[in-house]
Amino acid sequence: MARGVDVTEPVAIVGIGLTSFESAKSGQAYGDMIQEATAKALADAHLQRDQVPSVVLAASDLIDGRGISSMVFASAAGAMLKDEIKVAEDSAAGLTIGYLRLTSELFDVSIVAGWSKSSESPLTLVQNLAYEPFYHRQLGMDDLAPAALQAARYCHITGCSPDAAAAVVVKNRRNGAENPRAHIRQAITAAEVRDSPPVWWPLRRAEVRTESDGACVLVLARGNRARELSDRPVWIKGLGWETDGYNLGERDLARFSALAGAARRAYAMAGINDPLHELDLAEVHDFTAYNELMAYEALGFCGPGEGARLAIDGVTDRQGTLPVNPSGGVLCTNPYASAGLLRIAEAALQLRGEAGGCQIPGARRALAHGMTGLGGQSHTVVILEGDKEKAR
């Protein structure tokens, strides 16, 4: 039985700042987009820039089109003449760094900023450059190709059918239509999913991540400082992260092995034994519909091979036992490097009761998941709780 970890000075999310999410923010400069989200997060935390001593950034140099893009954009995240560090992966990993910086007690408040404006880049070419140059890069693959191999392998091993993937798409798109912050806000039918053109067989266009420009910034604070700054702090109760090996030909493509490890650590820290019943919602990185099904299994919402059943039975619908991606997920909004932090922000808004049209009534405890790398090589799992005293 997981007992949980006692952190005497817990860390909370006290500020949330999001831009709108769009296909192409051609009317806004890259840095202005980041500054907009940062200013909103600071305002939400009732803080001035000079009151935040630590800044954690998450971005992709190749998407940003600037080498060491944090040198160009750190100031847009409020970091001028501050202690600043960048992770070159999904921004959920940035949250773990922010958490560790605060629990080190060197800082009491930190910004965590993630952004991508992928419309400025040749995205598939950028993703192809993630392949090592000897054995894989010449084979014409982007970031969706490994997800397609996973989908094929997952269906082969578990007997999952395209109907289960369509159920995930229909659910997330229906949720996204109700989420005022989502990029794609249009419901879709299972027949439309089935009729959407193939991208990488067996993946169809409607079954894969969208591409969005946008930024997501959080402000974290520790202990009493968090209580001072926010009347609705969202506490980080569990964290876990893990990275698999690089070689896709060596991995179990039907499973997110590293996500299972990350979840074990996060659940142990938060004292969760039965995630399906102990969580009120989950925001997972649904890079594809099949990836969401794989995440159900790795996160222990069901046993191996049971992910499809969960989706088809509506267990993860907004009215189900455990709503997954009430925001619409990455299928609806995918600002690449900031996608993981957006999962966390959406979960935190749920726990504050501020999710709007996609609000899960009375949500108290949530899971958020971010991932990076070809075929989801690295995963971060965060367990969040609303404030007990301030619960409404």
Binding site: S26, G27, G65, P122, L123, T124, L125, N128, P133, F134, Y135, H136, Q138, L139, G140, M141, D142, A145, A148, L149, Q150, A152, R153, H156, P197, P198, V199, W200, W201, P202, L203, R205, G245, N247, L248, G249, E250, L253
Partner: protein, 155 residues
């Protein structure tokens, strides 16, 4: 700033030259591929797995590797996909990629699958099913690159 000023976009392109050092392991693999049309895996002395692509160390056992093992030029598909969409910077679709477990190897090696009739994508995918047998087929001109060979469906 006038409210109706046109948006301004400046084009840019990165064209950056690298020299990627293969190291002795990859260099030997590609040399054998080019000179002898052989595919060599490398065996881990600890876990005994024959790894493809070969590498200098076993990530699991964290020991250095030097035990070269020729694998068969036939194997079975572990997973395959068909690129169906036009994507910037990638080859013109359709094309098939398979991760293949060559007989004698414990991991899969990726390459294109040629000779597939793509007129019906679902039918092509059915032929590229997991477990389907494929053979390695070499290009007439060998350059010591992974594209020196591709897979062809057997039967």
């Amino acid at each position: 700033m006038a409210p109706n000023e046109p948006t301004m976009v400046v084009p840019g392109e990165w064209n950056i030259r690298y020299f990627y050092t293969a190291g002795p392991v990859a260099a030997h693999f590609f040399q054998e591929l080019k000179e002898h049309r052989r595919i060599l895996g490398i065996r881990c002395p600890q876990c005994q797995r024959v790894l493809l692509p070969p590498r200098g160390f076993c990530e699991r056992c964290f020991v250095q590797l030097s035990d070269w093992v020729p694998v068969a030029l036939e194997g079975k598909i572990e997973a395959a996909t068909i690129g169906c969409a036009h994507l910037e910077g990638l080859p013109e679709p359709p094309y098939a990629i398979a991760f293949v477990r060559l007989d004698g190897a414990d991991t899969s090696l990726a390459n294109f699958v040629t000779g597939v009739d793509f007129s019906d994508i679902e039918a092509a995918a059915a032929r590229l099913h997991i477990g389907a047998r494929v053979a390695v087929e070499f290009s007439p001109e060998l350059a010591g690159r992974i594209t020196d060979f591709h897979y062809r469906l057997l039967g």
